[in-house]
Symmetry: C2
Amino acid sequence: MTLTDLQTPALLIDLDVMERNLCRVADYAKQHGLRLRPHTKTHKIPSLAKRQIELGASGITVAKVGEAEVMLGADPPDLLVAYPVLGEQKLDRLMQVARRTRVTVALDSAVAARQLSDAAKRAQLEVGVLAEVDVGLGRMGVEPGDELLELIRAIQALPSVSLEGITFYPGHIKRLDDAGRKQLAELDALLKSITSDLRRAGISARIVSGGSTPTLFASHTIRGLNEIRPGTYIFNDRNTADAGACSLEDCAASILVTVVSTARKDRIMVDGGSKTFSSDRPSGSADVTFGYVTDDPEVRFFQMNEEHGYLDVSRAKRRFSVGDRLRIIPNHICVAMNLHEKVYGIRGNVVETVWNVEARGKLQ
Amino acid sequence: MTLTDLQTPALLIDLDVMERNLCRVADYAKQHGLRLRPHTKTHKIPSLAKRQIELGASGITVAKVGEAEVMLGADPPDLLVAYPVLGEQKLDRLMQVARRTRVTVALDSAVAARQLSDAAKRAQLEVGVLAEVDVGLGRMGVEPGDELLELIRAIQALPSVSLEGITFYPGHIKRLDDAGRKQLAELDALLKSITSDLRRAGISARIVSGGSTPTLFASHTIRGLNEIRPGTYIFNDRNTADAGACSLEDCAASILVTVVSTARKDRIMVDGGSKTFSSDRPSGSADVTFGYVTDDPEVRFFQMNEEHGYLDVSRAKRRFSVGDRLRIIPNHICVAMNLHEKVYGIRGNVVETVWNVEARGKLQ
């Protein structure tokens, strides 16, 4: 099967680029002695998680119990749920997962810790916990200092859960420009103070897990950090390139679309909109465009409806006709993957693999 | 099963509100002698399409061949694909659908018409065509006047397709305020000129299909219009309410989420983000919020990541704890539905029905 045999819109994965991306981060982690627990929310495909494990990942990360259930298909040696799991039903499902592999949960409240402990006790299991600390994003995580110590004490007082360490997500660092490097240095100093607080309090944090896409290749400069759990790196996307964390040539994923209308001057319509790309805008700028048109970067993807992409071709180098096809790198691949039932692994013009996106829509 | 038995995030449909919405539009269409061909892209559930047909819809509308295939489950007497279908494989799939029900396709190019004609001829079938005309949005559709006549002549010259009429989408009318009413009057005048052009050219347009959510209940004021194909009205959403086309009490769909973190001052995190709600912003304003919190409208849903909703509770009337649940009306229900495998039909606190969103992700 070749690209011309595909119906559109179709999400394509360039297998050579993907493999290069996977190896780059696996090698980086090995070189710096960092544990690698890739976040599978990006690809949502067990066989890709398997490949990450083959290349040296010590386990995998998921956001939802439903994703954990699907990812058991990759036979992971270890599984981090980087999200508090609440409610008896969901926790009981998680305990079924914990019968099959070692499970750790990231959480930031005594309530979540207690519910997890109760579920583990009911199931006669022990699960790991990472205490989440906020390092500047203001999303999840308690304040460093007394609040973190208090959370850890609460976890340590509970049966059937064991404190494995701490976790953080420096999502406030958008790119490693001058401002970003300053934020990175502050993060390093903060981590140093957090880990010495813990030591002083006699708390052993075997795992210090953190990082983000923009900080990925600077992870070794954050003292104390010993685990990374990147997700996007397997494919990369326009946001990753904009953040300076990869080049456009490192973007393995693109969406093949067909021109469905040329009725308007200077504008063409393609058969992919917010149900194909997601309506995520570029994360690091005020620009409102929805992808990078690889065939002609002068074509601006400036608007979308559910099934329509609006492309401004006034500066395009070529003319487009109804039925022509284009490839577009999405702004944010994690949300785009989640919209596709199947994705296509290609080498050049040849479609080598078709994957079901097995964990897409596993919201619970 | 009651609401407390549901795991979150969960998309809830208030069955009484939905039924009221369905009846309101069915009655409106009957009262004004308008054909009703509801767009099923909103709900993506065959049994709901069936209900629309029971209430008097003459057929249904879809955007994609994959949706058409699923919607055969509703046994529709007639099916409009409101989107040009291109490529042999997709067209051959459409012809399989056309063996089971009467199919009409909206298109705006001679290329799309010719491909459809070729496929219909191969299959020894006849399919209907609506010629799409642009009335101001600048999305699909040829210019009124000579371009429309030329498109229609091209369609009429082809075998195995029959011109049924014209279609348009006045998506440029955002709400029926003073400016919107002026646009509506212009649309009425434009339609009048288009239909008299057609008459003068001896072209019979049995169907004149059009309208949008904001113009829905003004459809009868557009002379010549004889078919509407609304989608969102079954559930409504925050955009519909903002556009003045329904009240918040008419919103049948909401998403039940759980508070997963209260670690930050004046802010809570809930377990739904862009993979649960979509990242669609409000369509009619510059406001950047992602839903209407029914439990306390002073709570602002101001930011999201894939699995995290950020709620500003600084003005909230109540305090929130980890594990609490909230209901949020999404900005745009069509894209939100498409993210959920299952949705829950409720009456009061009781979950009466669970539907699979069968046509979600049918992108091709």
